[in-house]
């Protein structure tokens, strides 16, 4: 697939788009850090919540369904809705855990609890116990920070390795563009996550790694085309802009198809896992995070990096020309 996109001449537009998104994302994150309790919107794994836990004995309750029905009726009457529900097993019975957002009204939660207790007393008697309370979730403090720091180190090392490998196997201008691509795509991904307030969970760290890997793949395909075109006698006469545009259009197919295939998988998983969990909300944040990651990488690899690289190449070519001229003059003298 070849296109006639003049990406190189649109560099300023792409830079403005990226800077605006990153700046707004940073601003929103900073404001939220002071106002809404965090730079990122912590997902269920990293935020405080309230929960109602109902434990029952198998002797009195053959299935969790009657317990569940009673609880859902009570929540509905109290005017609250749970974020998620999980069913558990103990040695002697079962547990149903309803999780609510931390902002859930305590009075409503208490009303629901009283309604459940009243139903238990009226209909069941014994064999069921109820507890509810607020959970101060320190996962972010304990495990989240460790995961974040290790993930940040891993991505930094990958970016350094990416730069060194391109420096050895390709050219300095390409290595610099690859480094910029890593930083740009990741910054864009983080900013969009901050801006859209998509809940951050453990999978977000894996998505950050996926973003870096997609950047590596994208730059490999783009700069491989550039490297090949430079070696072609006809094409090497083209200007830096023309050559970059040609290479970008030649690598467009693969650089667009890889994120597109993953986006298709993402949509497929969203549909199937929504059916599985009977609630799209549970999987929505992970899917949206993945889509944001894919959009960031596709935009960065297809538009931003080729346009910026054309300037790097222009500078590099100019430097080489001057250097060659200087060497020639030196030899003459």
């Amino acid at each position: 697939m070849k296109t006639n996109f003049k990406l190189s001449s649109k560099m300023h537009i792409f830079i403005i788009i990226s800077v605006v998104i990153i700046a707004i994302g940073t601003l929103v994150g900073t404001v939220c850090h002071f106002v809404a309790g965090g730079y990122f919107n912590g997902g269920e794994d990293y935020s405080n919540y309230k929960c109602v836990t109902v434990s029952y004995e198998y002797v009195d309750f053959s299935s969790q369904e009657e317990v569940e029905k009673m609880c859902l009726d009570a929540f509905s009457k109290a005017g609250i809705k749970q974020n998620s529900v999980q069913y558990g097993k103990t040695n002697t019975g079962g547990v149903v855990v309803y999780k609510f957002s931390a902002s859930t009204d305590d009075t409503k939660l208490l009303n629901a609890e009283m309604l459940i207790k009243a139903t238990i007393d009226d209909s069941f008697g014994t064999g069921i116990t109820l507890s509810s309370g607020a959970v101060q979730n320190d996962k972010a403090l304990f495990t989240g920070i460790k995961s974040l720091s290790r993930c940040a180190i891993a991505i930094s090392v990958i970016a350094a390795a990416h730069f060194i490998y391109f420096l050895v196997r390709y050219k300095l201008s390409m290595a610099l563009a690859a480094l910029l691509a890593d930083a740009h795509n990741l910054a864009l991904f983080i900013s969009l996550i901050t801006l859209t307030r998509i809940p951050v969970g453990p999978s977000t760290f894996a998505l950050a790694v996926l973003c870096t890997l997609l950047t590596v793949i994208g730059t490999c395909f783009l700069f491989d085309r550039v490297r090949k075109n430079i070696k072609n006698d006809d094409l090497k006469k083209l200007s830096a802009f023309e050559l970059t545009d040609l290479s970008a259009s030649e690598s467009l197919k693969v650089n667009a198809l890889v994120p597109a295939c993953l986006a298709a998988l993402c949509t497929l998983l969203f549909i199937l896992l929504s059916i599985s969990s009977l609630s799209p909300v549970v999987i929505l944040s992970s899917v949206l995070g993945a889509l944001v990651c894919l959009v960031s990488c596709a935009y960065g690899n297809l538009m931003f990096i080729p346009s910026v690289y054309s300037r790097f190449k222009l500078l590099g070519d100019g430097f080489n020309k001057n250097y060659a001229r200087a060497q020639k003059e030196k030899a003459k003298n």
């Binding site: 309370g133 390795a161 790694v209 998983l269 599985s276």
Partner: protein, 507 residues
């Protein structure tokens, strides 16, 4: 006059040879695929023994098999459930005492004595304990949260295999739960480290000077693992070695001293009456036991002692491990499998549509890729999560695009009028460095993620590491199978879905 311009001709494989190799490969794929996907009762075992397929023996993340949790109540705190049990029991003699003794707080009841004048102090001590517990449990993948200010919740992904999750492999399930139970039992121990002359706390006495802090005797405590053997490795400091030797040699010969944390015997012994010869002491144990003891001893030796005792005072139920169902539903793993099968089908259909019979060669590679990944995940016990599935799909995309790129390069060569054999040779030569560079840098990146990342990120890195190696090996295997399968075919252009380029030889 028109004729086909021919380049160099390759060595042809006979029809029989080609058929035998293809049949062997397909048979191997079919047999492996059966082992990988079909679970059944072992014939002749009367349904007692069960064979669990590779896929059902892969460890799954908490999104697919749920997590287990335990609530820790410090001394003086009980759950509202335990409170209700006493208060609603007309025959319980403590029934009337409880309302005066406890104050309700969320899902808990806290002794009034504990709350005292400054309830924040007690809450702070629980929070400080939670940090120590997070440090102890963090390495095992647990998360630690404070609930209702006065209780601590430990949660851990159960990482069951699908067979264990559905109860088809009850041994694995119960052993996974008993590992969790053991960790919770030992890592919540409070109190300092001591070495006592008997196995029972009450009837024994410390063999080391009471004023001494036993923790200072140790230079390091670590988990030791080599060739399937696991141990707790205790390394004594110079001073510790001297003092311990003095205490040990002065003990009654033939008896043993036991390490205790608080009042709990860890069953790690030192023989009395015999001088220690080395500063390093190794205690071999099962993997989970050795891990738990080394974490506990290291934490205690570092001076991280819990302020409160948890689940000890008899008014709470014993530490109860609750295993929860996955948030994504009980059949989430099945849906993930369906999604991955659809991705595979897409890759196969796409390649067959575009490259005709050559696409079938790529389809074989897709099958081999899937089997290698499933087998590796099972053997290496890699935890599969949604992100891990993405990495596997990315690896598949990498392999398919590497193959498609070379197919296109070969097509470009055939358009110059070369034979298929010459075009394949040139096509592979021209794409060699593109594919090599791509795989090399991705392999380095995947290795970095595996080694530096933790938890889900590390698992994703490992999956992609295997996927990258697999992709590169299969890239070359594609060439071999292309040669094998297409050898007996007369019209190789048609086989590959290429158009034969016809050149005018008058030129």
């Amino acid at each position: 006059m028109l004729c086909v311009k021919r380049g160099d001709s390759g060595v042809k494989m006979s029809k029989i040879k080609s058929a035998i190799i293809t049949a062997f490969l397909l048979a191997a794929i079919i047999v492996l695929a059966l082992f990988a996907t079909v679970s059944c009762n072992v014939p002749g075992s009367n349904g007692v023994k069960r064979y669990n397929s590779f896929i059902s023996s892969i460890r799954l993340g908490s999104a697919f098999t749920g997590e287990a949790y335990a609530i820790l109540y410090p001394e003086g705190v009980i759950s509202s459930a335990d409170y209700d049990l006493v208060v609603n029991d007309s025959e319980n003699k403590d029934k009337d005492e409880y309302p005066d003794k406890y104050t309700g707080y969320g899902s808990l009841y806290v002794e009034n004595d504990k709350l005292g004048e400054n309830s924040e102090e007690f809450a702070n001590s629980v929070a400080a304990d939670a940090k120590i517990l997070a440090d102890r449990f963090g390495g095992l993948g647990y998360s630690v949260t404070v609930e209702d200010k006065y209780s601590v919740k430990l949660s851990v992904p159960t990482n069951f295999t699908y067979a264990a999750f559905t109860g088809k492999n009850s041994d694995t399930r119960s052993s996974a739960l008993s590992v969790i139970s053991h960790s919770v039992q030992y890592l919540i121990l409070d109190g300092a480290l001591s070495l006592r002359d008997g196995s029972d706390y009450d009837s024994s006495k410390s063999i080391l000077p009471i004023r001494d802090n036993v923790s200072d005797y140790f230079k390091s405590v670590s988990f030791y693992s080599m060739a399937g053997q696991y141990a707790v490795k205790l390394t004594l400091s110079d001073e510790g070695f001297e003092k311990l030797n003095t205490a040990v040699t002065s003990g009654e010969s033939g008896k043993s001293a036991y390490f205790f944390v608080g009042e709990t015997n860890l069953n790690l012994t030192v023989s009395l009456g015999t001088a220690l010869t080395e500063k390093t002491m190794l205690y071999s144990a099962e993997k989970s036991y050795a891990e738990d003891f080394s974490i506990l001893l290291k934490s205690v030796a570092d001076g991280n002692l819990l302020t409160n005792s948890y689940n000890k005072d008899g008014v709470n139920n014993a530490t109860n491990i609750v295993s929860l169902t996955p948030v994504l539903g009980e059949y989430a793993a099945i849906y993930l499998l369906v999604a991955m099968l659809l991705v595979m089908t897409g890759a196969i259909v796409g390649s067959v549509v575009k490259y005709k019979k050559l696409g079938l060669v790529n389809a074989i590679m897709v099958f081999i890729y899937a089997l290698v990944l499933v087998t590796s995940a099972m053997l290496l016990e890699i935890e599969i999560t949604v992100a891990g599935a993405f990495m596997a799909a990315l690896g598949l995309a990498l392999m398919c695009f590497a193959n498609f790129r070379v197919f296109e390069a070969v097509r470009a060569e055939t358009e110059t009028g070369r034979t298929i054999q010459a075009s394949v040779k040139l096509g592979y030569k021209k794409t060699l460095f593109t594919i090599l560079d791509l795989h090399a840098i991705l392999l380095v990146a995947a290795l970095i993620v595996t080694l530096i990342g933790v938890g889900e990120v590390a698992a994703c890195g490992f999956i992609f590491f295997i996927a990258t190696i697999c992709s590169y090996v299969l890239y070359w295997f594609t060439r071999f199978m292309w040669y094998v399968i297409s050898s007996p075919v007369k019209d190789k252009f048609k086989f590959c879905g290429y158009k034969r380029e016809v050149l005018d030889d008058e030129d």
